[in-house]
């Protein structure tokens, strides 16, 4: 009788073994798939309600904090006291719609390590801290708020940098949203609404959207010209009504439709001050795509900019332009395939201000623990030298003249020497994208700024960089240097 019992025992233990295999499949091999299934709410639920660290600006303004939930003392709710002005920088971390911004980039630092698992115990024994860490960001709250308000709800972006260090003083995008909307029970509905909004409030127009920079790109071309010796301030150029595009019947004309100077000749300096298109189309072809490309790359084009999130590359497509002189001429005035975000153009201004060395932008100043002790402090290593110091100083003269007597007069600030360059590029449906880049004070620059409005019907078809963007640049510079707008 033991024979059959033995055979049945083998059957039963085979059964246990198959159960073991099934459990191994579910909990080991297939576990990640089950964990990631969108219908499985457990992973998100486990992060929900946990304490997260503070996000504080360098001037001490709290932009994100966790406070105890009044309804449930064991859990926390996230608050964003500065709301829309900081939305794209701070981002959000929602269990329903995902995460963005610094909340996403530094999720690991910001989250509480208190998972109440064995690894907690190990962490405590090793003397590490389970409490969430906090971030101090380089942004100045007053400047950030002013930048956001200056955009006035129109589509656009502003970035202000400290040209000496690359610290991001402000990065504003408009229109914006209140990140708190994405946290509550109605997060999914709010998210759908934001996605459906034709103005794209979720888009970060300061650092994550690229546009043709228009004439503000002439700063790059001028830097290349001076650096390579292709021209100096007094080099004379013809002053035609139109510049015929090489190998094409199309032409480039000037903003007013006429000549820039006297119809005979114009110097590089004059052309820069009045933003003469024909001169820079001509100059661009004379320098060549490779040499402009070298300067552009050193200024942050065609390069991945290290940042808390992925910044799209600013584009100056050297290889295609080298084979297409017509496109090369158009690129000389920041049109055609040239693209940059306000962040990149702020870097261009900052490089000129910083005697030709391009600073690498950074947003995170330091990480500190729950007791306020600094755990890690950050500074950035410059991207590299983009132009000779002499070139930078000549460009500074040119840009200052733009503000004192040229297209950037609206950026002038009484008592402060401001250098700048306007730009107005062609957006969709023939509407313009106005730009202005600037830095100040000229003798010892402490701020570099790029202001950009995205083409929109509210902005109108006659808006220009010198007209709508320059005054904002001036206001922000005055706020920064004098403490009042």
């Amino acid at each position: 009788m033991n024979g059959p019992v033995r055979r049945l025992s083998i059957g039963i233990f085979s059964g246990f073994f198959v159960l073991l295999l099934a459990v191994t499949w579910i909990q080991v091999i297939h576990a990640d798939t089950l964990k990631a299934d969108p219908r499985n709410s457990r992973p998100a639920l486990s992060e929900r309600g946990k304490e997260r660290g503070l996000l504080v600006t360098i001037d001490g303004t709290v932009v994100a904090r966790s406070v105890e939930d009044p309804d449930d003392p064991r859990s926390f709710v996230r608050e964003y006291p500065e709301g829309e002005a900081f939305a794209h920088v701070v981002g959000y971390s929602s269990f329903l719609v995902g995460s963005a911004g610094l909340e996403s980039a530094y999720a690991q630092e910001l989250r509480s390590k208190r998972d109440l698992t064995i690894s907690d115990l190990v962490t405590v024994i090793l003397g590490r801290d389970l409490r969430p860490q906090s971030l101090e960001i380089t942004t100045h709250s007053a400047l950030q708020r002013a930048a956001y308000e200056a955009l006035g709800g129109l589509k656009g972006g502003i970035v202000a940098l400290d040209p000496r260090t690359g610290a991001v003083l402000a990065a504003a995008s408009s229109p914006s949203f209140d990140p708190a909307l994405l946290l509550g029970a109605d997060a999914a509905a709010a998210w759908e609404e934001l996605l459906a909004d034709p103005d794209g409030p979720l888009l970060d127009r300061a650092t994550r959207e690229i546009y043709p920079p228009g004439s503000s790109f002439k700063t790059v071309v001028a830097a290349a010209a001076l650096d390579t010796g292709a021209a100096d301030l007094n080099t004379e150029f013809p002053d035609p009504v139109e510049f015929p595009l090489p190998g094409s019947t199309a032409t480039i004309s000037n903003a007013g439709g006429g000549v820039c100077n006297n119809g005979e000749s114009i110097t590089l300096l004059q052309a820069f001050i009045v933003s003469c298109n024909t001169t820079f189309a001509d100059l661009s072809v004379r320098i060549g795509a490779e040499d402009i490309g070298i300067t552009a790359q050193a200024l942050g084009f065609n390069t991945e900019i290290p940042f808390p999130w992925t910044v799209p590359e600013a584009a100056y497509p050297v290889e295609t332009l080298a084979e297409d002189p017509a496109a090369l001429a158009q690129s000389g005035i920041g049109e055609r395939d040239v693209r940059a975000a306000p962040l990149h153009m702020a870097m261009v201004a900052a490089a000129v201000a910083n005697q030709g060395v391009t600073p690498a932008p950074y947003l995170l100043n330091r990480i500190f623990d729950a007791d306020g002790n600094t755990l890690e402090e950050f500074e950035s290593t410059p991207l590299g030298r983009a132009m000779a110091p002499a070139t930078a100083s000549l460009l500074t003269q040119m840009m200052e003249r733009v503000v004192t007597e040229g297209t950037g007069r609206a950026a002038a600030v009484p008592g402060i020497r401001v250098a700048g360059k306007s730009g107005t590029s062609m957006g969709p449906e023939g509407l313009p994208n106005p730009w202005f880049i600037a830095f100040a004070p000229v003798e010892d620059p402490t701020i570099a700024v790029a202001v950009m409005f995205e083409a929109s019907s509210e902005l109108g078809e006659s808006a220009s960089g010198g007209g709508v963007a320059a005054p904002i640049a001036g206001d922000l510079i005055r706020l920064w240097l004098e403490g009042s707008p």
């Binding site: 009788m1 033991n2 024979g3 059959p4 019992v5 033995r6 049945l8 025992s9 039963i12 233990f13 059964g15 246990f16 198959v18 159960l19 073991l20 099934a22 459990v23 191994t24 579910i26 909990q27 080991v28 297939h30 576990a31 990640d32 798939t33 089950l34 964990k35 299934d37 219908r39 499985n40 709410s41 457990r42 992973p43 639920l45 486990s46 064991r74 998972d115 109440l116 698992t117 064995i118």
Partner: protein, 435 residues
């Protein structure tokens, strides 16, 4: 191992139960309160008391059985306690009472068997059968009538009995006790008729088949299973009864024909019930495609898989997962709840403990010289093993979900009583064989 080391494992398992409760409290930011001490004490009294009863009435019994059983009960208990907190129930304190009652009844069983020896079950097997059949049919009593004993339908299955004793009502599942009686009856019957049943001269290919009239008991049991399935809509009990019987029949006779005939009858009943009953169809749909039917039939199984997958290797930690998202987690899906919070480590431990209990049970059967005791030990172990494999197999999607409880771990008083008595029967057999 000795009785003393058995005592040590019981104490260790009781500490495990208290520690589990303390961890859950800690995780939920509750103070580590009296629940911890209370749980530890109840485990110590229930299983320690049972241990003392074994010392008194079955001192030569194997010391390997009570430890793992206590550990399994502890693992199940802390999950029940944890689910109580999430769901606002109070099942844990009921379960503690049931534990004391079950251990008490098991101890009394040992005491009684000490006077009569286990052979009484063989001698009075016809009475056992009648009582068992009555128990099986109890839930079919009307749910609305003057008599205080009523049938009760829960989740579409009619396997509960409600006893109204004036100030309160007690609910229990008589099938949990009936399964012991039926195994005892079958073991007795087979021990007496073994030789006749072994007469299997007919061959179909290489498989030997018994005389047709010797198939009558098989057909009767099959008929009873089908009756339970139809009248009580209880797939689990029905399957358990039938499979247990077929395995025991094969164990007693070694005639492969019984397995083949049993398998055939099982398949016929299975296909017929699939065609006839909605609730069987729903189970099959949920088994084959839980994620495609996530909104309805497949929800429970899908949630169980999510829970176990999220638990992954080391689990979320006691009190830190969300097993409350699984419907009926503290009864049918306690294994998935353990898998979520204790992870692969926890589920493997549970499987290992069950395998150990089953191995010890089969060892008792192997070593028994007396036919009845051998068959009874084997039958009880088979029922325990089949029940474990069926319910866990249902959770991990190897077989359709049958809706039976996981022995020792699931919430439920009658199941705990039945299974602890099953354990003391095994202990008693082991004691008698060692004498």
């Amino acid at each position: 191992m000795t009785r003393n080391s058995e005592a040590a494992t019981i104490v260790a398992a009781s500490i495990l139960a208290g520690f589990g409760v303390a961890l859950v409290n800690f995780a939920q930011d509750r103070s580590v309160d009296a629940q911890t001490a209370l749980t530890f004490l109840v485990f110590l009294i229930a299983f320690g008391g049972l241990h003392l009863a074994v010392r008194a009435f079955a001192p030569r019994a194997t010391p390997l059985l009570l430890g793992p059983v206590t550990a399994l009960t502890a693992l199940g208990f802390f999950e029940i306690y944890r689910l109580d907190i999430a769901l606002g129930q109070d099942r844990a304190s009921f379960q503690r009472w049931w534990m004391l009652i079950a251990a008490g009844l098991a101890a009394v069983t040992l005491l009684l068997l000490n006077r009569t020896t286990i052979s009484i079950l063989r001698r009075y097997r016809n009475i056992t059968l009648l009582i068992s059949l009555a128990l099986v049919l109890l839930p079919n009593l009307p749910s609305e009538w003057g008599f205080p004993l009523r049938g009760l339908e829960v989740n579409g299955s009619r396997l509960w009995v409600l006893l109204d004793i004036g100030f309160t009502t007690l609910q229990f599942q008589p099938a949990e006790l009936a399964k012991l009686g039926l195994v005892a009856y079958v073991a007795g019957y087979l021990a007496d008729h073994q030789r006749a049943l072994r007469e299997a001269r007919r061959h179909i290919g290489p498989i030997r088949f018994p005389e047709p009239r010797q198939l009558i008991p098989l057909l009767v049991t099959w008929g009873m299973s089908v009756l339970i399935l139809i009248s009580q809509r209880d797939l689990g009990a029905s399957l358990l009864l039938f499979v247990g019987f077929v395995l025991l029949l094969y164990a007693a006779t070694g005639t492969t024909g019984y397995l083949v005939a049993g398998g055939f009858l099982g398949v016929v009943a299975g296909v017929a019930s699939y065609l006839a009953f909605d609730h069987v169809q729903r189970r099959v749909i949920a088994w084959l495609a839980p994620f495609q039917h996530y909104e309805d039939e497949g929800f429970q199984i899908a949630q169980g898989l999510f829970a176990m997958g999220t638990g992954s290797l080391s689990g979320a930690g006691p009190g830190l997962g969300r097993p409350d998202l699984i419907p009926n987690a503290s009864t049918d899906f306690i294994f998935a709840a353990v898998g979520e919070e204790l992870g692969f480590a926890g589920t493997v431990s549970v499987l290992a403990l069950f395998a150990l209990v089953v191995a010890v049970g089969l060892g008792i059967a192997f070593r028994s010289r007396d036919t009845f005791r051998k068959l009874l030990a084997a039958g009880l172990t088979f029922v325990l093993a089949v029940q474990t494999i069926l319910i866990i197999g249902g959770i991990v999607r190897l077989v359709p979900l049958t809706g039976i409880t996981l022995p020792f771990m699931s919430y439920g008083g009658s199941a705990l009583i039945g299974n602890l008595i099953l354990v003391v029967l095994l202990l008693r057999i082991s004691h008698e064989e060692a004498t």
